[in-house]
């Protein structure tokens, strides 16, 4: 089976794959290495990849001398809150779009996509005024609401395609077996949709975690700033960029995402193929 030509092809494929990985991973690696270099080593010429001496000073300063932890907590609340709100609404909404028949159902589903045509810049001023009017300006709640406006349509659309893959007969069977609609949803639809819900939740959390623009405009006090705007705000000024701290902050911002990915990656790839069995 493994002729020389085959082996050569495999080899070439592997080299290419690793080259791509390297190109993508290099900036991350650079970020990690920079964050543990003493500041004095940052700008040596010629540049050196490996630090001469490893220091965690930047991490210590970031955690003790700056509001980093406050931002981290805010980001965590934002990601969790947005995900909770979006997933609760989108799961029920997607179920409705797939299972119930009512006039305008398809149009409604397509209208959801239509919201993507509006750039967020268009929405931001009205949103700001709305939040101010509600007395929510400068709060995490205002950001959760704002994030929901763009994450919800996306989540609805994604979950709808997951739920479409669940055979109608499963729910029918549950109804005949004595469940009411809500029980059928909880007992049969939810477990089937779970991989889809998890991956949608991941996408939503990442969207919220990385969001910058709304946070910049809607919040301007440290108590409610998330990491994205907070870190830039405190470390990047017109006069100076604190590169070491910035890199340390970036590492710590990426860490939760990497951990989440490591544990839940299979849900991103699986799930779409999750259908019921047929003889």
């Amino acid at each position: 089976m493994s002729t020389p030509a085959r082996i050569a092809r495999r080899f070439l494929f592997n080299v290419l794959a690793w080259a791509v990985v390297l190109v993508i991973a290099f900036p991350l690696l650079w970020m990690l290495l920079t964050s543990v270099k003493p500041s004095s080593e940052l700008f040596v010429i010629p540049p050196r990849l490996l630090p001469g001496e490893i220091t965690f000073e930047h991490y210590r300063r970031l955690l003790t001398e700056t509001p980093f932890l406050t931002y981290l907590r805010n980001s965590a609340w934002l990601a969790a809150g947005t995900t909770l709100v979006v997933i609760s609404i989108a799961t029920l909404g997607a179920h409705s779009l797939v299972r119930f028949s009512y006039p305008g159902r398809e149009r409604l589903a397509r209208l959801v996509l239509f919201t993507y045509l509006l750039p967020s810049v268009v929405l931001i001023i009205p949103l700001y005024l709305l939040m101010a009017g509600l007395g929510l300006a400068n709060t995490l709640t205002s950001l959760i609401i704002a994030y929901t406006t763009f994450a919800l349509p996306y989540a609805l659309w994604l979950l709808r395609s997951f739920m479409k893959a669940i055979p109608d007969d499963l729910e029918s069977a549950a109804l005949v077996d004595g469940a009411n609609r809500m029980q059928a949803f909880v007992d049969v639809i939810l477990p089937q949709a779970l991989p889809g819900i998890i991956s949608t939740a991941m996408f939503t959390a990442i969207l919220a975690w990385n969001e910058y623009f709304y946070a910049l405009v809607l919040v301007n006090n440290d108590a409610a700033r998330p990491l994205t705007t907070g870190v830039i705000n405190m470390l990047v000024t017109s006069f100076n960029i604190e590169w070491s701290l910035l890199m340390a902050a970036s590492v710590m911002m990426s860490l939760p995402l990497i951990v989440v990915f490591a544990f839940l990656q299979r849900y991103l790839t699986r799930g779409f193929s999750a259908g019921a069995i047929k003889g």
């Binding site: 055979p167 029918s172 069977a173 109804l175 005949v176 077996d177 004595g178 469940a179 069995i277």
Partner: protein
Amino acid sequence: MSGIRFENVSKRFGGVTAVDDLSLEIGSGEFVSILGPSGCGKTTLLRMLAGLERPTGGTISIGDRVVNELAPAQRNIAMVFQTYALYPHMTVAGNIEYPLRKRRVAKDERVRRVREAAAVLELEALLDRKPRELSGGQQQRVALGRALVRDPAVFLLDEPLSNLDAKLRTHMRAELIRLHRRIGRTMVYVTHDQLEAMTMSQRIAVLRDGRLQQFAPPRDIYARPGNDFVAGFIGTPSMNFLDGRLKGTGSGRTFRSGDLSLPLGMLPLTDEMPEPDRRVRLGIRPEHIHFDRQGEPARVNLVEPTGHETILVFDYRGNELVARMDGDIAIEAGDTVKLAFRAEKMRLFAAADGRRLNDDSTA
């Protein structure tokens, strides 16, 4: 008391009429098949009975209760779906137990009844498996088990055997008949397979385009088809039809098609001919054709020996005619023979609406 009554039931999906003004009465404990080609509304009919689909018009009763407004859970029915619809995340035991859990049956009672159903269906060894780890036949038995376990008044089965291979299908047919005898519950069995309907049912409802064509015991469906659709749908190879006109009256009555003329004097008609020269279809089953020196000449186009019988295709005055004859017949394509029909077995249908015209007193 768990008979079923459909009264003028219709179901429309947008512009599509899936079930059209259908009335049907099924006796308590009866095994009835709903038979018809794919897309004729069988599943829709069953789903309305189960409460999964709301009729556009008409009333459905189970026992003495009109169930139109009742949720599926309140109808005391069980249903086996064509796709089986097993819950993929539950084990076999979990699947069978689910209807009991939803009815708040106590734990040890549930365990006992799951074990009982599993024993009947020989599923004991599989109770801890997930549905995806089962073969088609095993999944089918689990679906049956889930229906059996709570002893419902009515069983609905939607083409439960269509996903099985031929051998298993024959086996399960016998199993289902036995099951029906044992539990004596009303069973409504949907199928597009006439063999299943003919072998299993006490009565068959033949459906076409959402309309009921005939509701009768298998023997009658075969021998006294209500119209030309039922006549052509039941039986393999299907009934031969010749289109022509009815001439003469009384014992001088004949069937004319081109220069073919067949005497029909001995076939009593259901009604006297309202118009002269009426257009009719003459139906004759393949097994009612035989060689006869006095018959009409026909050319053999095709010989298909199956062993115990031979299927012959003739050119009979420009019409294709299929006949079923002995397995050891010596005949070849290209031969010319003379054919006659068993006169008392011929069936006459109105060309206009397909209704059967000859009475069944001689059948």
